[in-house]
Subunit: 119 residues, 3 copies
Amino acid sequence: MPHLYVEYSANLAEFPERQLLTELNAAVCGHPTVVDPLDVKSRIAAVQQFAIGTTPGLNGFVHAHLHLLSGRTPEVKKELSDRIAEVLRRLTPQPAGMLVQLSVDVVDMDRGSYYKGRL
Amino acid sequence: MPHLYVEYSANLAEFPERQLLTELNAAVCGHPTVVDPLDVKSRIAAVQQFAIGTTPGLNGFVHAHLHLLSGRTPEVKKELSDRIAEVLRRLTPQPAGMLVQLSVDVVDMDRGSYYKGRL
Amino acid sequence: MPHLYVEYSANLAEFPERQLLTELNAAVCGHPTVVDPLDVKSRIAAVQQFAIGTTPGLNGFVHAHLHLLSGRTPEVKKELSDRIAEVLRRLTPQPAGMLVQLSVDVVDMDRGSYYKGRL
C-alpha cells in the first residue's frame, strides 16, 4: 500500500531519478512491516515553478511524502521517514553555493475507505 | 468541494483520460451527499518516472485520491471509494502480461480552515 | 516547514505564476508563526486534463493546499488560509464568461515522523 512521492526543485541538475527510486524502494521494502514489495509504488518529478522564502538566493529542495494505511505506530513511521531521509541525503546532488532543504512527510491513509485491487 | 486526483503509470498506453474523468465525475456526483455537481473537480495525469517494488517486472498502477471536507461518515467515504474503484476497474486498460494495481484513497480536508470562493 | 502547492486549470490563460508565488510566500511568511522564511516552499503548476462537474460549461479553478507541521491552532490555520485566499482572489485572471472556483486546504503533517535537513 505505501505510495511514495518525491518532488525536487528543477534547479537540482542531473538529479539521479532512477537511482533514487530504486534505492528508496529498497529502503522502504526492507522494513519488516512491508510484506509485499509490489505494494511500494514510488514516483519522482521535478518541480519547474517554485519559490523558496521571500528573498533571492540559491535555494533548492527535495521533499518526499510517504502515504501508509493508518494503524502504523509512531515508531514505525519515524523509522520509515529516517530510511527515506538517509537515501535523500546520500543521493541528492548539491550544486555549488546552493542551500538544499530535504524533508520527509509520512501521511496516514484512511484504512476504512481505502480500496485496493488488481487487474 | 470534492477534489479528485487520478495518477496512472505511463506504461498504460492509450489510457482513456477524458472518458475516465467524465465517468468518475458522474459516479461521484451521483452520490446523494454531493449537492452541486460543479463542486466536483477532477484531474488526471500520467506518471512518467515511477518504480513498483524492488524487482524488474511488468507492473503498472492507477491511484485515485478523493479529498472531501471532514465530517462525512465512514459509510459515505466507503461508498464514494467503491464508486471510484468501479470506474477504475472498468476503464483501465490492461496491457498483455502487466500486473496493474488499482487503489483509491479518501482524504479528509479540515473544514474549519477550508476556503471556498468564486470569481 | 510549510509546503504550499497551487494548481490551476490550464484554461486560465496567462496565469501570473511567478507573481502568485512571490505574493503567496510574502503572505505566508508575514504570519507571526512563520519564523524562517526559507521554510516556505511553494510550487505552482497548470492542470492540463481536468473535469468540473457533469455538464459542459466554461469552468476553471485554482486550488491551493498548505501543509504545516501539526500543532497549529485552528485560528492560525484559518488565518493562513485567508491570507492565501486573498492572494488567489486578487491575482487569478477571469476569462470572459468563465466561472472560476477558488479553494484553499490546510493540511497537518505528522510532527512525530517529519524529517527536516539541509545539505
